[in-house]
Symmetry: C2
Subunit: 422 residues, 2 copies
């Protein structure tokens, strides 16, 4: 009995699972790299293969897709990744590409929405509520910052002008996506209740999100130096990383209170933190903050990407009827986001920007999760077939995005490097 008590440490199972996930991620990444694709695409496919194995041998392969511990660690991974991405830029650098990002973001919401409506009109039976068409469009609007950031990191172009436009546009997309989601949900609710559109809720959502971003980038920038100067007066050691991460996590929490995804707050924290604020602490600890954050990203981010793949239902991918609808939606989604890259304007490699906006990733899957819970006229808004088709489309864009971006960056990097800086 005691023996059982001691042996059955539930943590031990988690440790074994982590070891297996790292191996899966690294093997998947290696295969992708050998096929000249970004490692992150291989990690996504490793997750997919894991999900297929769970389906094939239920009970004997652990289902990481519904494991709370892995969820926590994977989510921490993408948050730390976005903090690290933010650290590589500063607020002035982002403002410089702000207009280009805004154009890409707005086009990147309008075009996929329009094309998504078109696809829905072609495939869905007559009499389907408009809210369903709108929701399909909304799912195609999302952009996953995590995946493109990882590709940009892999090829060392996170601090290129295109890298900044992509990341900036993806952050703005998060605000726009939030609005679209609230609007579509409101339309579904209004259609059911027979009332008007919830304009008040929309205005409140937008105000809160913009207020958070505005305050973080202004007030936050003034407060941060004081915060780290205070820490510098401590005599104990190993302060920089826990305090910087604590700062990022606090902003992630605060941004989430304002309705934004936690990754947006973490990215804002990275943008705000500038080398000058922490150089004394970095000297004391003999490591730069980026050097200290990097190992955390290395360990946690692959878990996130494997999980994104593992959360997909492989059966949904293989049904011919939904597969065709899904492929069409994916094609429309890729074209919409890719053309949105034109919004970057002159002096940018617009095709790279467009590819960078293609992956929908976790954001799209969150949308589907919300849609699955929405009701209209007493019935679920999304039928299982429509839901599966959207998932297929999201998955295809999530896989095509990093492959296209990696290929485009390599293609355009050599011939005309002078264009790579805005």
């Amino acid at each position: 009995m005691i023996q059982a008590l001691l042996v059955a440490d539930p943590l031990a199972g988690t440790l074994a699972l982590l070891a297996l996930m790292w191996i899966a991620a690294k093997v998947g990444g290696e295969i992708a790299v050998r096929m000249k694709m970004p490692a992150v695409a291989g990690e996504l496919i490793a997750g997919l293969a894991w999900a297929a194995a769970v389906k094939a041998w239920p009970g004997s392969v652990p289902d990481i897709g519904s494991n709370a511990s892995m969820d926590l660690l994977g989510n921490l991974g993408v948050i730390v990744l976005m903090f690290a991405v933010g650290l590589e830029s500063t607020v002035p650098q982002m403002l410089k590409v702000g207009l280009a990002s805004l154009r890409v973001a707005v086009l990147g919401v309008a075009l996929p929405m329009g094309l998504g409506l078109l696809g829905a009109a072609l495939f869905l039976p007559k009499g389907t509520p408009l809210a369903v068409d709108l929701f399909i469009g909304a799912c195609l609007c999302a952009t996953s910052i995590g995946i493109s950031s990882q590709v940009l990191k892999e090829v060392g172009q996170l601090d290129s002008a295109e890298g900044r436009v992509i990341v900036g546009a993806a952050v703005m997309d998060d605000v726009l996506g939030l609005l679209v989601l609230v609007a579509v949900s409101g339309i579904a609710a209004a259609a059911t209740a027979g009332t008007g559109l919830p304009l008040g809720a929309l205005a409140k959502t937008l105000t809160l999100a913009l207020l958070f971003l505005g305050l973080a980038l202004t007030l936050g920038r003034f407060a941060t130096p004081h915060l780290f100067k205070l820490a510098d007066r401590f005599r104990s050691e190993q302060l920089l990383l826990p305090l910087a991460l604590g700062f990022a996590f606090f902003l992630a929490w605060l941004g989430n209170r304002a309705g934004l995804a936690t990754i947006v707050g973490a990215y804002a924290a990275g943008l705000i933190l500038e080398p000058a604020h922490i150089e004394s602490l970095e000297r004391r600890e003999r490591h730069s903050l980026e050097d200290l954050v990097h190992p955390l990203v290395m360990v946690l981010a692959p878990l996130f990407f494997v999980l994104v793949g593992a959360k997909v239902d492989p059966a949904a991918l293989l049904k011919p009827s939904t597969l065709l609808f899904g492929v069409v939606l994916a094609a429309l989604g890729v074209v919409g986001k890719w053309v949105a890259g034109l919004g970057a304007g002159k002096g940018f490699r617009w095709t790279a920007v467009g590819w960078g906006m293609v992956p929908r990733g976790e954001v799209g899957f969150i949308f589907v999760g919300v849609g699955d819970a929405l009701m209209i006229h007493g019935k679920p808004l999304l039928s299982p077939e429509v839901s599966a088709a959207i998932v297929t489309a999201l998955l295809l864009t999530t896989l095509l995005g990093p492959v296209g971006l990696g290929w485009d960056l390599r293609r355009t990097a050599t011939p005309n490097p002078s264009l790579s800086r805005g």
Copy 2:
């Protein structure tokens, strides 16, 4: 509704809690350092203060002591810490101090057990089953490797001869403690059932534990270079840290299957991994493995120490009757472990070794948890008062240990540094 769905991301609460815990740990550590105590003692007290705040304002202060996410991260913290501790030594170095460690470990189990029996005989009413006395003694035998390792790290003496003896003896203590626990539980079960002692179970426990350690340190040492040579043929990057951690977590899992605490397996993995096995990967990634592991320890280990403090019931500490018994047990426990330092023999600063063995920490608390679940003659083995007294004693040794070790290492470091290497 949607707004609520998006805002109520449970991860956001975890992020805010992590930020608060890091601040608590760092402020506690700073106060301790200014009082010339090791930072880890301050982190433990910060956890205690948190537990007191939860008690004082229930519902408004989050109870980190029973939070599954924090448990996971804290436990990963101590496992990564022990892996890092293992990395700083090699198997031959540990074998060199093996006999000294073994003497300290055996004395460190025999003396506290004897003194614990004495204390129990003095304080417990007549007619108390022998199993209770033995269990109290068993709780005083445990040694927390985590806490003393952290102190040794803080003062930069982890690779001193005394540091190695302490860590080696603490690992052996884990095996011995496991045996004592199985023996005491067996005695309680035998007393209830009126049967003989479970010698077979004892033999099996010892064999499994020794088999794991033996195989890990022999077979593991031969297999590891091949494993990392294989990884070196990969073309993708960022392999070293995930694979090394995966290796450590795998051994932690395997050791746990053999009945050992997960930290023992992680420590063994660190011992086995030698610079020569990974130098090619380290060159490719331009960072040493220790540099890569260090940030993980920095971020996760403080969570563990705050949690050890936060899991204590502050009310149990303040009851006068149990307080006196607890203080006496603590005094006996400190003396027993401290004198055990003499086992190190000539050429070692035995007082430092003794202090290093004093903290009971998480291991002792695991014992109490097991004891609380044990029954004898149909009644719980430990009464609430005895349980609270043991917790008090564990807590006092856990706080006194790092303070005493820090003080002793500073005291003995300067006058005769030549003695510090065996």
